[in-house]
């Protein structure tokens, strides 16, 4: 290595280090480099030398003028900023609020984008989705597959490296001391650990293959069950008995799954165990398991889809009339792309990510436009200063640098304030979004981003004014007056129009989102969901204990009625094509959703019965009969449905009643055709209705009755209203955020308007004085000054209409049930802006319009 070589690090050192220290320090650095030859270390050492005692003073260096000039420019900038205090405050406030908005969205966004990204081979791990192609053209899409498909995929399709089947969830409780603690786990084939890259801390996966009563638990469970010092105990091979008396042999303890994983489980029971308990899982007709596959590396999903599409149709055994295709979705995309229609993935959470990030950027754009407009307006007032500089020999470059530095400085101040805002409001934002941000880590990310932003934004917004001023001749600068050419006014007007267009679109947008959310919340979904409480039956026998349970519960206070079902009726998931009915065409292959209920169901839910009758406890044979909804009647094509025979799987019965359609799925999709069976064997969900205003009493009664059947369990419940609202979390978040954004953008646009009006009015003081002397009234002046600005709103309104219509109708199309876009929303938004603008312009110009012309004309 050449010792005399001057590396760039040393060059850097020379730019800031005091001359007299240079030789010694360079020597030390070189010696250190010799001992530990690392360029990185050298760079670090040089950077660490940037200390007050070591760096050169700004003044008194060899390059006399350079630092002096820089200092003078800085002083001039700071003075200018101070002199125009009000504008500076407006400018900085707008920009910092906008930056804060962007930062909040950035925080939220990075958190959302983190989901399911933790797998090393995440590209190759895919969820298998099923498409049921019906004869009426409607395609239903599910995340669930038949269990036998796994064996077929493993054996017949070499593109698949491995696969695993997961149950939809398995709740298991273990007694620990006095308490019974319940955990959410899954039944899964042991490949689940390989696919989801879950490492074992203790034990191994092997036992999970051969013992159906093996069990793997997460570290979290181990810590609770065996104590914090579980690692020191010999836990592997020990037996764990759950509250139902089932004994499991502990095969292993695995690492807790990361927070941002949609697949999460506290324990794993071998899927074989579940198959043993429910032999009908082996049937190709039963699609209730989640299937994940890992593709061999180098296989694209599209390629795999074309190979796998017919996997079910070709390999299933038994008699089938329906067509079922499969396709893959990568694990990475599962969280963000969670909506599918007619067999294709149409979006989901990703839409809100796009929506909110575009909004945040628009708000920032609004603030930047303000910033630029104001900076331009302000710099024109400093024409004389620039003129003097030029006369004294400043080059164009000097002038440009000065103004660019000034806007960088202002941006920096705004960014710092924005960070403070974010820091201060972070707890509220966390509550709003229901997320827990790792703020220190995120702030580190953000610091870098902000640095880049400050530079780019500063340079960009400072470009126009600095270019303008540096290009003008010093004589015209010194003569002052209106240095902005007329053509530039057009550009600034265009920017203002653009601002108001965006603001209008935002107002209309948030009003529409608000209306849709209100519509969702107030929609009559065909049943009365207020006062409904859901809890679980657990150890209670659904058939044997129901009547005594019901009698017991109704004896207590606050309960109006109760029923027992097997699904959440506002989110029905079970579907089958194994239904035939009187009058069914041979070619019909149609799917029906179904749920189990009892005769108390319809009255408790207050669902309206349109035809026929409800199930009856007194009629023994009623357990074979069915009640259907209108959608199912339509799908079956029956005009006289009552009394028609229906064969559901192997159970032959009659339609005894038709209920009016109630919303059994989210409002994004149409009401599903539903068959209600009168059965309780597989039911586990208790839904009770409290008497009006007696929720507290009802809860106490439910808990007491619950404890009689489940003495060791913890009672828990949910209100149907909350369950309903929880399906629209994204909407509720967007509704709130869109309000904040709208308020911010309106405020920013108005701030911009205020300052622009103020500037132009100030510049026209003399003109107004002369007009007044010549006889103009205050009203004339007011009209003269405000007309220009108010008239700018007209094109904004015209442009905003189609733009917002286009965006919003697209958004609303995602809902099968939605509001119509209202013309009055536009009118309301436009008049709001118009009135606000008029007030502001009026207030600003009033002072000038009513002032004594002598004041304005005598100065100088």
């Amino acid at each position: 290595m050449n010792k005399n070589r001057i590396t760039w690090q040393l060059k850097l050192l020379r730019t800031f280090c005091k001359q007299e220290y240079l030789e010694e320090i360079e020597g030390d650095l070189l010696e250190r480099l010799e001992k530990r030859p690392s360029q990185w270390l050298l760079t670090l050492e040089v950077l660490k030398l940037i200390r007050p005692r070591i760096i050169k003073n700004f003044e008194g260096s060899n390059k006399l003028n350079y630092y002096g000039k820089f200092k003078n420019q800085l002083t001039a900038s700071v003075r200018a900023i101070k002199r125009e205090r009000v504008y500076t405050i407006m400018n900085v406030t707008g920009l910092s609020v906008a930056i804060a908005c962007c930062l909040f969205i950035y925080l939220w966004l990075t958190d959302e984008l983190q989901y399911n990204t933790h797998l090393e081979d995440g590209d190759r791990v895919c969820n298998v989705l099923n498409k049921e192609v019906q004869t009426n053209g409607v395609i239903n899409t599910y995340r669930y597959s038949p269990f036998p498909l796994k064996a077929v995929l493993d054996a017949k399709y070499p593109i698949i490296e491995s696969s695993t089947v997961l149950s939809n969830g398995n709740w298991m409780a273990f007694q620990i001391g006095e308490e019974i603690i319940e955990w959410a786990g899954i039944d899964a084939t042991p490949e689940v650990f390989e696919l989801f890259e879950v490492d074992f801390l203790k034990g191994s996966v092997d036992k999970m293959y051969d013992n159906a009563n093996a069990l793997a638990i997460s570290k979290r469970v181990a810590e609770v069950y065996f104590g914090k010092d579980w690692e020191k105990k010999n836990v592997i091979g020990s037996f764990m008995e759950n509250d139902e008396g089932e004994v499991f042999e502990l095969a292993g303890v695995y690492k807790n799954l990361p927070k941002h994983s949609t697949v999460d489980f506290e324990f794993v029971v071998p899927f074989a165990n579940r198959v043993k308990k429910r032999p009908n899982l082996k049937s190709w007709k039963n699609s209730s398991s989640q299937l994940f596959v890992k593709l061999k590396s180098g296989i694209e999903i599209a390629q795999a889809n074309s190979v796998l599409q017919e996997a079910i149709n070709q390999h299933r055994v038994g008699e089938f009339q329906n067509t079922r295709e499969i396709f893959l979705q990568s694990f990475k995309d599962m969280y963000l792309y969670n909506r599918y229609e007619n067999g294709t993935i149409t979006g989901g959470r990703i839409d809100y990510i796009h929506l909110l990030s575009v909004t945040a950027i628009l708000v920032l754009l609004l603030a930047s436009i303000n910033f630029m407009n104001l900076t331009t307006a302000r710099t024109t007032k400093r024409a004389k200063e620039t003129g003097v500089r030029k006369v004294l020999g400043a080059s164009k470059r000097d002038i440009r640098i000065q103004f660019q530095l000034e806007s960088i400085l202002m941006t920096l101040v705004s960014a710092v304030i924005a960070l403070a805002i974010v820091f201060y409001l972070l707890p509220d934002f966390q509550q709003l979004t229901n997320k827990d941000f790792d703020s220190t880590r995120l702030f580190k990310d953000v610091a870098y981003l902000i640095g880049v932003f400050v530079f780019i934004h500063g340079v960009f917004t400072g470009f126009y004014p600095s270019y303008l001023l540096s290009s003008l001749k010093s004589t015209s600068l010194l003569k002052s007056g209106n240095i902005l050419p007329q053509s530039q006014n057009g550009f600034r007007k265009a920017l203002v129009i653009f601002q108001f267009t965006i603001t209008l679109v935002m107002i209309v947008g948030s009003l529409t989102v608000y209306q849709q959310v209100i519509y969702i919340q107030n929609k009559n979904i065909g049943l009365d969901r207020s006062g409904l409480i859901r809890t679980y039956s657990y150890d209670m026998d659904p058939v044997a204990d129901y009547h005594s349970y019901k009698a017991d519960l109704l004896n207590r206070s606050g309960i109006e009625s109760v029923t027992l079902v097997n699904q959440l009726l506002i989110d029905i998931r079970h579907a089958t094509s194994g239904v035939s009915w009187e009058g069914k065409q041979d070619t019909d292959e149609l799917e029906f959703y179904h749920m189990d209920a009892n005769p108390d169901f319809i009255p408790t839910m207050k669902i309206e019965l349109r035809d026929g009758r409800n199930f009856d406890w007194e009629i023994q044979s009623d357990t074979d009969n069915y009640v259907i909804n209108e959608a199912a009647q339509q799908l079956m094509g029956l005009t006289e449905p009552i009394g028609k025979t229906v064969t559901f799987w192997d159970q032959k019965g009659k339609i005894v009643g038709v209920v009016k359609d109630f919303h059994n799925a989210s409002l994004h999709s149409a009401i599903k055709p539903l068959i209600i069976r009168n059965q309780m064997r597989a039911s586990w969900m208790i839904v009770a209705r409290s008497k009006p205003g007696m929720n507290q009493e009802a809860l106490a009664s439910l808990e007491n009755t619950f404890l009689e059947y489940n003495p060791n369990r913890v009672f828990w419940y949910q209100f149907m209203d909350d369950l309903y609202n929880s399906k629209y979390k994204s909407e509720l978040l967007v509704q709130k955020l869109s309000w904040y954004f709208t308020v911010v953008s309106v405020a920013i646009s108005l701030l911009g308007l205020i300052s622009l009006v103020a500037y132009s009015t100030e510049r026209r003081t003399k003109e107004i004085g002369i007009r007044k002397i010549l006889g103009a009234t205050a009203l004339n002046i007011l009209r003269l000054l405000s007309f220009g600005y108010i008239s700018m709103l007209a094109p904004a309104i015209v442009i905003a209409f189609p733009v917002s219509y286009f965006i919003l109708s697209g958004w609303l199309e995602g809902y099968a049930y939605r509001i119509n876009l209202n013309w009055w929303t536009y009118v309301f938004a436009s008049s709001c802006i118009l009135i606000l603008a008029m007030i502001i312009v009026g207030l600003q110009t009033k002072r000038v319009a009513t002032s004594n012309p002598v004041e304005s004309l005598k100065d100088e």
């Binding site: 010792k3 005399n4 030789e23 020597g27 030390d28 010799e34 660490k48 030398l49 200390r51």
Partner: protein, 111 residues
């Protein structure tokens, strides 16, 4: 007394300079501290302290002969001044006084 307080790092640097005698130049001090105290010291940190101590008149320095190592750069050797030695002694006395006072209370005698 009382007016001058040595920081912990300042004290270490001064002691190391004393220890190294005629060989006390920047990088040697760093190496000595790093091996003895088992902590990393950046050149920036050391230089700041050296310059400060020199300004306070606790150290003096002069360039050595030109060498062929270090890319031809001369070393700057540091030495304690009498004021420096006094302040070091004062610092030690103060610390010892404190230690003695603490011992009387029984702290530190347990082991």
């Amino acid at each position: 007394m009382g007016k001058h307080h040595l920081g912990e790092f300042e004290e270490i640097v001064m002691l190391t300079v004393a220890l190294l005698g005629n060989e006390a130049y920047g990088f040697a001090v760093i190496e000595e501290i790093e091996t003895r105290m088992n902590r990393t010291v950046s050149i920036g940190a050391l230089q700041t302290v050296l310059k400060r101590l020199e300004e306070k008149n606790y150290l003096i320095s002069e360039f050595g002969e030109a060498t062929t190592s270090r890319g031809g750069r001369r070393r700057r050797y540091y030495q304690l001044t009498n004021t420096g030695i006094t302040i070091l002694e004062e610092t030690q006395e103060q610390r010892m006084g404190l230690w003695k006072a603490v011992r009387k209370l029984g702290f530190g005698t347990a082991h």
